[in-house]
Subunit: 264 residues, 3 copies
């Protein structure tokens, strides 16, 4: 089996181009976190530019954080272009369940585009799985009691690898569910750590292919980086945490990934 | 009287959802500062999404920093929806007076939406009060000699609580004027500290209601956080200041608010 | 001859207003770096707002990082307005050569607007010079062997001062080529350091006029700031580097510019 640290090394070696159509709130952190993971981010959302850029990419991230009719069209175009070329597409259904527009858009993308990975918080994944999650704004406020089942159910229904992130992270391909227990309490204090993980995941599936293992590795590397970030006691709040999270992911050692990994 | 530190605790306890239609320059810092204040930020500007998201919010922030015809329509819709539901709306008239488009838009919003709070720099408030301020780009370059009177006059005319921020901050409800003297010289070296304060104010009026005291408390807590940020001598410039401002606001102690508050 | 440190002081003294139409990925860092250089940034891209804001500016930065048809129209309008008023315009042709839309847009701007400065990475400048560079996403992956010649050739053809940035930076007016050898390896680990340099260059040509020397000074001051940022050994990765780069540019001493400058 290829381990998370093997995959981390492969991402760094191959520097996959990750095309994003994402929100304007956290886009800069997504770009920088993608670089820190070893990828090369690019963002463009004009319909005239999207197909040509997608062709160059190893993975495409669609994030509906600040969607509008123009960018939804661009997301569908990016997704279909990627599908026709065999380039994997990640959907981050930010705020799905909070408003009808977001819910309809997430399902429209899932209907019209073959999505390889769905990455959402517990509430978002529960909403999509139809198991009763609740999303307030863009934050998960409640989810099904059994988020692992929701992740598996949604994976089964969509054919995507599903990552449901929160205090505990679950990754499922519709059969197995991997439970991941790394992370830092500071993750929830910075806007867009979920978005950043989607960008990191783009780099992982771009370099290592789409699999339960590649998605789980992206989650593990990112969350282990958050633990290493706070380890030396120099994180005092959300500002210093974010700064150190970039440094930590960029410098993460394979032995830290191997020894700190909490997975069952 | 409820003190600023009481309100700070209430915001943290209730975590109000603050909906923003704001500029793409400083939006990430606004989201993160809103979190550090204890709120939950959400940004969406599509007309199809705005009314449903506004319904979930405790306050709405309209910031005209990078306006265009599409987002002006969304701002008006957000404002009117909020009005119909009794949700308070803050206007941050970024760059009003610098160009006719900004001036006309600020007045159009003030005409069509009942604004609960206007938060601007000295120049912007003077321009809106008609007392001769000057705005260059988005920076205040001159204001009326008596900015306290301008704030009171604008509050009286619009029925909003008015916060005029700068080296000294003034908050007025059209009768009283509170003068606040906290802050750091580094505040002016980071783009968007005014926008961030509007987001923080959104959290305060969302949690504590609209009043002279809740707006003044938001200003005090944010500016006291800027003093605490530099207190340990580890701020060397705008970069380290911004990082520490997030940490400082997030960790701010009630006793620091109580002892450092400079108000007359 | 006016030295780079003289120009640095002049920018700080005069605080030129720099109008930007730029991408939403790195826009916040551009604004903050412009402030740290001594300028005053403003961003607006609505056609109704652009001409009035351009009139107030000392320089205009056009950056095609996340272009769309609406903002291309605004860029052309901004450029033509600036031309009619004698305000210098910088073009940052982000990702030119990666897609036809970007290439066509860069040339359309060069055709319709008199551009004072073109600032691109080695790949982008090679593409525009027709000497065989390659751009992947927004990163330079290969350039002509002789990037100095490409910069000179492009300057000759367009009449612009051309800055080609990378491990070594070249600035040419079509006759002379200045070679600049300052910088840090961390520059390539943060998204948008090229965009930030365009904003800094806006402040320099806004304050000091358009010349081979003013553009070379902007490049030198920014890259020397990156060396000073890492000098005390407290940069551990992209996150801490970015924070310290803001501080370093803001605090840069004339003697550091004078003694660290590597130019031939």
């Amino acid at each position: 089996m290829t381990t998370a640290s093997d995959m981390m090394e492969k991402v760094r070696r191959t520097c996959p181009l990750v095309h994003h159509i994402t929100n304007y709130v956290t886009v800069n952190d997504c770009a920088n976190m993608c670089i820190c993971a070893g990828g090369s981010p690019v963002m463009t959302d004009a319909e005239k530019d999207v197909p040509d850029m997608v062709k160059l990419a190893s993975a495409v991230v669609l994030n509906i954080g600040t969607l509008n009719d123009r960018t939804i069209g661009s997301m569908l175009l990016a997704g279909k272009t990627a599908n026709s070329l065999g380039i994997p597409v990640i959907l981050d259904p930010v705020g799905v369940g909070a408003t009808p527009y977001r819910t309809e858009t997430a399902w429209r993308i899932l209907d019209e585009v073959k999505i390889a990975v769905i990455k959402g918080n517990h509430g978002e994944i529960s909403v999509l799985a139809g198991s009763g999650g609740k999303v307030r704004g863009v934050d998960s406020v409640s989810s099904s009691d059994d988020i692992a089942s929701s992740a598996r159910e949604l994976a089964l229904r969509t054919g995507a690898i599903v990552a449901a992130t929160g205090p505990v992270d679950y990754v499922s391909d519709g059969k197995a569910v991997i439970t991941l227990r790394n992370g830092s309490k500071f993750m929830g204090t910075v806007s867009g750590t979920g978005c950043m993980l989607s960008s990191v995941t783009g780099a992982y599936i771009g370099a290592c292919g789409v699999s339960l293992e590649s998605v789980a590795s992206a989650v593990s590397v990112f969350t282990i980086a958050s633990e290493v970030a706070v380890r030396d006691g120099k994180v005092f709040g959300p500002g210093s945490f974010r700064t150190k999270l970039f440094d930590s992911l960029y410098n993460l050692k394979t032995e830290d990934v191997d020894t700190l990994l909490k997975r069952d």
